[in-house]
Amino acid sequence: MEVLINGAFIGALYGLYGLGLALTLGLMRQINLAHGDFIVFSAYLTLQGSLLLGVHPLMVLPVVAVVMFVVGFVLQRLVIERTLGRGEMPPILVTFGLSIILQNVMLELFSADTRNLNPGPLGAASIEIAGLSLGVLPLLTLAVSFAIFWATSAVFGSTKFGRAIRATSDSDQTAQLMGINTSRIFAVAMGLTLAISAIAAGFYGMRGNFDPSTGPERMLFAFEAVILGGVGSIWGTLAGGILLGLSQAAGSLINPSYGPLVGHLVFLVVLLALPGGLMSLRRRQ
């Protein structure tokens, strides 16, 4: 039972990975294959920052998020923007190239050693709820994920910027005619994507180990969360992430090393049986 609850908590983290990806997928109809490598890169930045300043990783996380926002904004303007409007292939090829570059830059800078972020006393702390002992860190992860999802959906639903994003997502050409600077919207969205991922990276690093090669797997988990939930649905991505986390936890109950495999299999089965994702169930009712 506790394994499954923990799985759901990790799943919230997958949802957070996926949220950024869902933003760019819904908006630009393209995927950033280097998404996971940016998550790992953010984890390294957090590690370096907290070692350098001698403070808790959570203290540096907001700064890393801002840095990654700028990285995302610049990356979109300088590189990814040039691939748009030329079909589905160029963004895939360019971001795959980016993924290889990032992995090897991290290898050069930080070596292949496995690292993690020291959560301090937070790591072992737990509280008792309804007879179950729950870790404070997983609970905090869940709370932060919910807060970010809530903030994102609030921004999308009721601000001018959110309206501009939704309009651009529906038809970027029409949005452009209405006076929306779509290139700027794309760049801000990419910045937000990486900023959200940076927050997720902080919690990822405090829970588990990372090294320069663990990025692609993060990207797959993120994408699976988006598809499981249903493309175009913000809360669906969280639900998809939690389903993925539960599947992996259930798999690891059978055999500790089966976790990711069972998660992938559940993803493929859902893809086959329910192409619209979990949210298509709700719409049908």
């Binding site: 190239g97 993924s99 090393s257």
Partner: protein, 324 residues
């Protein structure tokens, strides 16, 4: 002088076959092994290009066929303790069946979703092999059947297998792309809805091409790992295969037949001269792939073609030819 395009293809194919025959006669041992490796890599890249460049199916988990092809040869040859070379046919058959099995999942996906789903499928196979002790688990297996094979036979047999796979890959590309299937494939890539309206069976065409590409790439994987003599889930199903394939195809020129041939030469030149640089070498490869995609989408062959003024392996039929 402009020859009818199919004759030009025959001449160029004949030159390539002649080259592949001359290498083991004139070349040193290390040259033969290098060309064998190039042939296997080129065959795999040509097949990925067939799917992505001509068919618009960006199959990011292509290493699944390389791995299955390699493991098929190792398991069969070790099991019977016989010469491994004929088993690349088994690799091809197994990979074609794998393609057939995964098409129901992939056929309704496009673009990014197709790319990631194919990647996930490859991960599922990698993780399964990793957990299967009969297949050597995480440690992999050696091609023990090769131990009793004399050194000369081992070298020429492996070279011959790889060269044969490459020739099949080239012939398949030229004839498939000149056939109705090739025409249908490109029509689907350019506009799936319009293609279907013209009476093209979308799923059947994509399934057929996927099976062919998987079969040849699987045979290429089988030949490659006969050369390596050692296979493991971490290397055989590694994303590195995707990186190499993409580099060869993009740098040479995606969506052309000549492109990957140019690309494989450039890739091996770079590898033989720069691979000592380690991760800096991979950073350079990644940078080049991005720059070529952004600035020279037609690749190195696009530039060469302007100099030569004609295709060497034409896949477009001239209207005048069909009249005569």
């Amino acid at each position: 002088m402009r020859l009818p395009s199919i004759n030009r293809s025959f001449i160029v194919l004949a030159v390539i076959v002649l080259f592949l025959i001359l290498v083991p006669i004139l070349g040193s041992r290390s040259t033969v092994n290098l060309v064998a490796e190039m042939a296997a890599v080129l065959a795999i890249a040509l097949m990925w290009n067939l799917l992505a460049g001509f068919g618009g199916m960006v199959f990011m988990g292509f290493q699944v066929f390389v791995g299955i092809g390699g493991y098929a040869v190792f398991m069969a040859a070790n099991g019977f303790q016989v010469l491994p070379f004929p088993f690349i046919l088994l690799s091809a058959a197994l990979c074609a069946l794998t393609a057939l099995a995964i098409m129901p999942i992939l056929s309704r996906l496009q673009g990014a979703q197709f790319a990631i789903a194919s990647w996930v499928i490859s991960e599922v196979v990698r993780l399964t092999v990793f957990q299967t002790s009969v297949l050597g688990g995480g440690g992999g297996i050696s091609l023990t059947a090769m131990r009793s094979v004399p050194r000369e036979l081992r070298m020429y047999g492996t070279y011959g297998s790889a060269a044969l796979v490459l020739i099949v890959a080239l012939v398949v590309c030229v004839f498939l792309m000149r056939s109705r299937v090739g025409l249908a494939l490109r029509a689907i890539r350019d506009n799936a809805t319009a293609a279907e309206a013209m009476g093209i069976d979308l799923r059947r065409t994509q399934r057929l091409v996927m099976m062919i590409a998987a079969a040849v790439a699987g045979a290429g994987g089988g030949a490659y790992y006969m050369l390596a003599l050692q296979i493991g889930p971490g290397t055989a199903f590694s994303m590195n295969w995707m990186a190499i394939t993409l580099f060869v195809v993009i740098l040479g020129g995606i969506g052309t037949l000549e492109g990957p041939i140019v690309g494989v030469v450039v890739y091996f030149l770079l590898r033989e001269t720069l691979s000592d640089l380690g991760s800096v070498y991979f950073i350079l490869l990644g940078l080049m792939a991005i720059l070529v995609t952004l600035l020279f989408p037609k690749g190195a062959w696009g530039g060469l073609r302007q100099l030569i003024g004609q295709d060497l392996l034409p896949i477009r039929r001239n209207p005048s030819e069909s009249k005569g």
